[in-house]
Symmetry: C2
């Protein structure tokens, strides 16, 4: 197969972890006879520094012409504490999601047996957790208008807005995923307070009869924030709006103790995007110590979701499991054993594939 | 001292737990020579059933004329799954908060040594957790206009809105609390996305120099949702908007393993309100098994926050600790020991005070 992959390393440790995914993807290409072409683009703080724009048109063109995007991380602390900054790296991310039509963010949380003792939760709570969030990614309060300030600057406002179609297309993805999994769908909302949430709940209730094999539960976001810690195994597939998804997927990511390893996919249009869930981790940038496994597993998701190549996807996750079993890991999970460099882990994985 | 206390038992287990708090408050009154008068009002589902209104004017009059309100819980499952219901119990709660001007919800999370093993988190993470949220309670997306649907009903919207004054008055409470505690204040927002959050951050930055002894940290809500589980001991006082506070205070409440015991206070005007953080727990209603300690500790907060009577407040929390130490507890925390009835726990506490 021919594959055009856009590479967006981004900021901080992004370039280092993306470099390892490239090694792995190239190894897969070689082994399975795929012709893989990479094109690199700037996004985030590095793009602001170079062009003044966190998501330059040139980057969008590369992404739009690709079959899939592999993305590292964005964010630089120099932009965080300046509430009046006119341009922020995050705007690049948001614009990218919207311009590429990536309306669904798929965030699995699962456990690696060898890492489960790193969880802040007790073993019986996390052992075997396997849930996946479908977070709406191009709507809601992230993009709603009007937003801003009154003239004197003494009042600020944001608008949360959802249309039925936006909810339907995200919810269908959740229902379909549930059908292939444990057949439980949880719709997370705040229908006791928000008008948008009531439309979510109503819309999901209307769709439910089309998926009679899926059990649907409706839970308030505050209750889910509790139950996710109390008993995460209660969940299978969760669907929710953009802002709730932002908070809950991050909360869920620490449950398994394997945050540095969690991949994600953003879907919705021809071009799909894959990225680790961890951030740009600026303190570690350039030190060759960042854990590349989240990005490598995102590449695995890419073969699965973007190209329907399950064997390739499976081989990547198999070698990742092997690296964990053999202790070929970076310092964050080395636990007293030898700590390998980011680049060494990438080399090892690529060699194992070939 | 003369004290007029409004009692709002509400729904589910509300009446049973309030009854125990009344016993305790009466015992305190007797011991310290206070003249305490109770007036009872309807709120929530029971108020809808009786009057069609979840917060009838008659209830508001009782509250407005009181010195403090002791509140149980509201909510009935019969209203939860009907997104089109015209009147919902929660509206009563929201209207009450707004009409009484209760703009600050104070929610401490702390541990009881004898219960800490009930936490879903590992001991080293929770042992000694002691944090308190100041959640803005009468603004934001809970009340912002416009909210609703377009004419065809295919789009829904909510408005998040904050004025500088709303932020200032809540933030000052947080700063002052931090000064009396470990002097760390965390401002929780989503300033990388939301205009309201940028006003929050900017406003808190402007206030900070007035409290030079307090260290101020700014964190995104998604990061806090993670760190609250990873290392809750990192926090002291957290301030945040209404919706983030709803989610995070519930998340925080499960950390200590003592959710049934956590009290809360709602402040902002002459009349202050005190309530346990747990819900109406309809399955347990009428069975005399609900844990009354969250409500009893809310009464302790009442003596402290509403009347400045620290000795009285302290005595209540002391007898609660004694009941835990001696195992005079309800079935939820009895752990194989004898389980006492709700009413028995209340009787025991009142007797200990006298
Ligand atoms: C950086 C930020 C704008 C972004 C978001 O809120 O969506 C991030 O937290 C995420 O979840 O990808
Ligand atoms: C019942 C509901 C409206 C309420 C809220 O969201 O404020 C509750 O969750 C709370 O936190 O007191």
């Amino acid at each position: 197969m021919e594959m055009n992959i856009a590479l967006l390393p981004g900021d901080g440790i992004g370039p280092e972890v993306i470099a390892q995914a490239v090694k792995v993807v190239n190894a897969i290409g070689k082994k399975f006879g795929h012709k893989i072409t990479f094109k690199e683009g700037l996004v985030g703080a590095c793009a602001i520094d170079a062009t003044g724009d966190p998501y330059p048109d040139s980057t969008h063109e590369i992404c739009a012409a690709s079959d899939a995007v592999l993305f590292g991380a964005i964010g630089d602390p120099k932009y965080d504490n300046d509430p009046k900054a006119k341009v922020r790296p995050e705007q690049g991310l948001l614009r990218m999601r919207q311009k590429l039509g990536l309306f669904a963010n798929v965030r699995p949380t699962f456990t690696f047996p060898s890492l489960v003792d790193k969880s802040p939760l007790k073993l019986d709570r996390v052992d075997g957790v396997d849930l996946v969030f479908f977070r709406e990614l191009t709507g809601g309060i992230y993009f709603g208008e009007p937003r801003g300030r009154n003239e004197q600057g003494t009042k600020a406002f944001d608008t949360n807005i959802y249309s039925k179609e936006e909810i339907v297309r995200l919810a269908r993805m959740g229902f379909e995923a549930a059908q292939k999994r444990r057949k439980l769908l949880t719709c997370v909302d705040k229908a006791n307070v928000m008008a948008t949430s009531r439309l979510w709940r109503e819309t999901v209730q209307e769709l439910a009869p089309e998926y009679p094999d899926v059990k649907v539960e409706y839970e308030f976001v505050d209750a889910v924030a509790m139950r996710l810690i109390q008993w995460p195994k209660a969940y299978d597939v969760l669907i929710t709006e953009n802002l709730f998804g932002d908070i809950l997927t991050d909360e869920a990511s620490v449950i398994s103790g394997s945050m540095g390893l969690m991949p994600s996919a953003s879907l919705g249009s021809k071009v799909k995007l894959f990225e680790p869930i961890h951030g740009s981790y600026p303190q570690a940038a350039g030190k060759d110590i960042a854990n590349p496994l989240g990005t490598v597993l995102s590449a695995s998701m890419m073969f699965d979701y973007a190209f329907g190549l399950f064997e390739e996807a499976k081989l990547i996750s198999d070698v990742v499991n092997l690296s964990l079993a053999e202790g070929i890991v970076t310092e964050d999970i080395a636990e007293g054993g030898k700590a390998y460099k980011t680049s060494e882990v990438g080399d090892w994985l690529a060699a194992k594939i070939l």
